[in-house]
């Protein structure tokens, strides 16, 4: 009999897997065996650790050493040095920037140090495929308390006291939602979990499901008791294979322990769960469309009322919450609503998880208390903008959201403040943009997404978003006409006021918010046929400015068709006949010398 002296908590989230963590795991296993350490050093594959930009990452316990950007080739050296000879390897430590001192311990890295973890408290700390490790960290104690010691009314009161609001984006108070469903007449009720995360750039729900699936199950069990439901569904998109696999494992283990099924924990309460795989239509994240999809129908929304709390899945009273919302519930019941209400702001309690991505140093998953400013998230947790470029705006809430410019970057993240500046909290996508982002092109991207995902049921969304996309295409291609900007505004207002569901009603938001803060960019495109951010190829001349050119030749190296003539100490020049307008030279030029 022996025991482990060291554990390597290797991140097995989708981000780290994409950068090779499975190969690293295999190499670790092989090398530990080679050195005869397999009885002493245990490899634990965890869910997403959050610091996806530095992946594959691993934390070595008990020392808490944080390793980043590991590759299978590095492992023989790492195992010999650290695990055999006890010398942590500095070259895999984290550094703030090139030349800065390395930071060996995870808790000292600013990206982690400034976060407050509730929803993500188990990320990178447990093996998500082992229910015992979830239980070790107070897992299912909240469910135990709710089932054995509390009445449904008491559970709802506790959730109301916590101030928890829907994390899917709209921010409806969760306790109130449960109360409505609880009071609805009917012997059959359903509890649903919306895991149909579809916003471009968002990966919060996927990461929670991959890193801590039991937290979601526990939240659903508690919700079921609160409203009197005995069957639940998790609607998760098929594009999340790892999340689905870990959910299946978690549900299997929970059933084995009797945490799902008949007479849970001897309380007499019964509840079971199934996973429904969505085919990836964006509109199925809308609650009524999601329910249609589970019923086996085409995923299209219907008008409300009746609201799902009264008539939802199969016309029965239904509670639908998002993954992150459920992941909070177990701890709220275990630690009390007052504890949760002590975190955050007056109107927005607790924490919020954001998927921080785009032009930011530390791409990854972050959880901060409500009320933290966008500046703190982007510049302190996120480490600022790479390559010394300038911050331009941050896009919040995906295709339904808007962007916040630099002048409003001190806005705190809470539902009301974010809405006031023209964006929405949304589910937590946070795309940072630097001065090389064209706001018209960005709006065009989201409009392209929306019109592609429009289900086609109502005319304003089906036709309106298409017309808007056509106009935006025209503008970015240099064919914009003076009346186009006003036409965009008119169409936006019309679609917002008349579309059937949330997808259509909020679809024009990216256009409206960029018009609000970056109208001058639209005007430059339309009147001057100029793209100030140099992103729209049709509006660029592809001419080298001899004053700004420092004769470095990086553009010539980047050009895939050899259209750039350059010799040492000579200003570069571009042959327009050969140029394919691929933008490689503009991206490569450090001096912005190509117009």
């Amino acid at each position: 009999m022996s025991t482990y002296r060291t554990e390597i908590l290797l991140c097995g989230g989708t981000g780290c897997r994409a950068s090779g963590s499975e190969e690293v795991k295999a190499a670790l296993k092989e090398q530990l065996e080679k050195q005869g350490l397999q009885q002493e050093v245990r490899i634990v594959e965890t869910g997403c650790n959050g610091f996806c930009a530095q992946g594959p990452v691993a934390i070595v316990q008990p020392e808490g050493i944080f390793y980043q950007k590991l590759a299978a080739d590095d492992i023989p050296y790492l195992v010999e040095e650290h695990f055999l000879k006890g010398r942590p390897v500095e070259k895999f430590f984290y550094k703030e920037q090139a030349g800065a001192e390395t930071i060996p311990v995870m808790g000292d890295i600013p990206f982690y140090a400034r976060q407050e973890l509730i929803v993500l408290k188990n990320r990178g700390a447990i093996d998500p495929e082992k229910i015992d490790e979830y239980i070790a960290r107070d897992g299912y104690l909240g469910a135990g308390k709710a089932l054995l010691e509390m009445t449904p009314e008491e559970i709802i009161e506790e959730v109301k006291a916590s101030g928890l609001r829907g994390r899917g984006g709209a921010g409806f108070p969760t306790g109130l939602k449960w109360e409505f469903a609880g009071k609805s007449e009917g012997d059959v009720k359903y509890v649903l979990c919306n895991a149909d995360e579809g916003d471009p750039g968002a990966f919060m729900d996927r990461s929670v499901l991959e890193a801590d699936p039991h937290a979601v199950l526990e939240g659903m069990i508690i919700a079921a008791k609160a409203v009197g439901a005995h069957q639940g569904y998790i609607y998760c998109r098929a594009e999340y294979p790892l999340a689905l696999r870990r959910l299946d494992i978690a549900i299997g283990q929970a059933r084995e322990y009797g945490l799902l099924g008949e007479d849970i924990l001897g309380s007499g309460f019964r509840f079971d769960l199934d996973v429904y795989r969505g085919a990836g239509a964006f509109v199925c994240g809308e609650e009524t469309a999601l329910m249609h999809s589970i019923e086996g129908k085409r995923g299209m929304p219907r008008p409300r009322p009746p609201f799902p709390a009264v008539q939802g899945l199969w016309k029965r009273p239904t509670v639908l919450n998002n993954v992150e919302t459920y992941a909070n519930v177990g701890q709220i019941i275990h630690k009390g609503g007052d504890w949760y209400a002590g975190i955050g702001t007056e109107t927005s309690k607790g924490t919020k998880v954001f998927a921080l991505t785009g032009a930011v140093q530390n791409i990854g998953l972050v959880e901060v208390p409500m009320g933290t400013s966008l500046r703190e998230i982007i510049f302190e947790v996120g480490g600022g903008i790479p390559k010394k470029r300038k911050f331009k705006a941050v896009q919040l809430g995906g295709p339904s959201g808007g962007c916040v410019p630099e002048s409003r970057i001190d806005t705190p993240v809470d539902y009301e403040s974010i809405a006031q500046v023209g964006a929405i909290m949304g589910s937590g996508g946070m795309i940072v943009m630097d001065d090389r982002t064209c706001m018209v092109d960005m709006a065009r991207f989201f409009m392209d997404f929306i019109q592609d995902e429009s289900c086609g049921k109502c005319t304003p969304c089906r036709e309106g978003t298409r017309r808007m996309l056509e106009i935006l295409n025209k503008i970015t291609q240099g064919r914009g006409e003076p009346e186009d900007i006003e036409l965009l505004e008119e169409l936006s207002t019309m679609i917002r006021d008349s579309a059937l569901c949330g997808l259509g009603q909020t679809g024009p938001n990216p256009v409206l918010s960029t018009l609000q803060y970056f109208r001058d960019e639209y005007e430059a495109h339309v009147y001057e046929k100029r793209c100030p951010a140099k992103r729209c190829p049709e509006l660029l001349e592809f001419v080298v400015d001899p004053d700004r050119c420092k004769k470095c030749g990086q553009c010539a190296q980047a050009c895939p068709v050899e259209a750039i003539q350059w010799e040492k100490k000579q200003t570069a020049s571009i042959d327009k006949n050969k140029c394919i307008k691929c933008m490689s030279c503009i991206a490569a030029c450090p001096f912005d010398a190509i117009d």
Partner: protein
């Protein structure tokens, strides 16, 4: 597996907490086995094995075992440093399986420094 009751759940919690204590539990004792090339050549590997066996047998989850590089005293290897909370670290020299077992049982579990094997008490 039979259905859990709330007491079973708490038992699983305690057991799993022990098994994952490296990640979160509080440590009161740190034992360092010096495992540079010299230490390994002198038999530090066996010392480590013995230590881990003793640790498993004791059931204690507040003792951390780490390995480190050579201290620079290659002639006295294998060296083991025992640090107990609130006490000065003690370095042992010329360790082997049996000495390690003795140090674990007498010093770590009962607080009696085994001066016969000690190289020095660090200031």
């Amino acid at each position: 597996m039979a259905k859990l009751t709330i007491d079973d759940l708490k038992k699983i919690k305690e057991k799993a907490q022990k098994e994952t204590s490296l990640r979160s539990g509080e440590a009161t004792v740190k034992v360092t086995v010096h495992m540079g090339t010299c230490g390994i050549a002198a038999g530090a590997r066996e010392v480590m094995d013995a230590l881990l066996e003793e640790l498993a047998e004791s059931g204690r989850d507040d003792i951390r075992v780490v390995n480190s590089g050579c201290m620079g005293m290659c002639s006295s290897e294998p060296n083991v440093t025992v640090e107990m909370m609130g006490q000065e670290p003690v370095i042992y020299q010329h360790m082997d399986r049996n000495k390690m077992r003795q140090v674990f049982k007498r010093h770590i579990l009962h607080g009696e420094v085994q001066t016969d094997f000690a190289l020095a008490r660090m200031q």
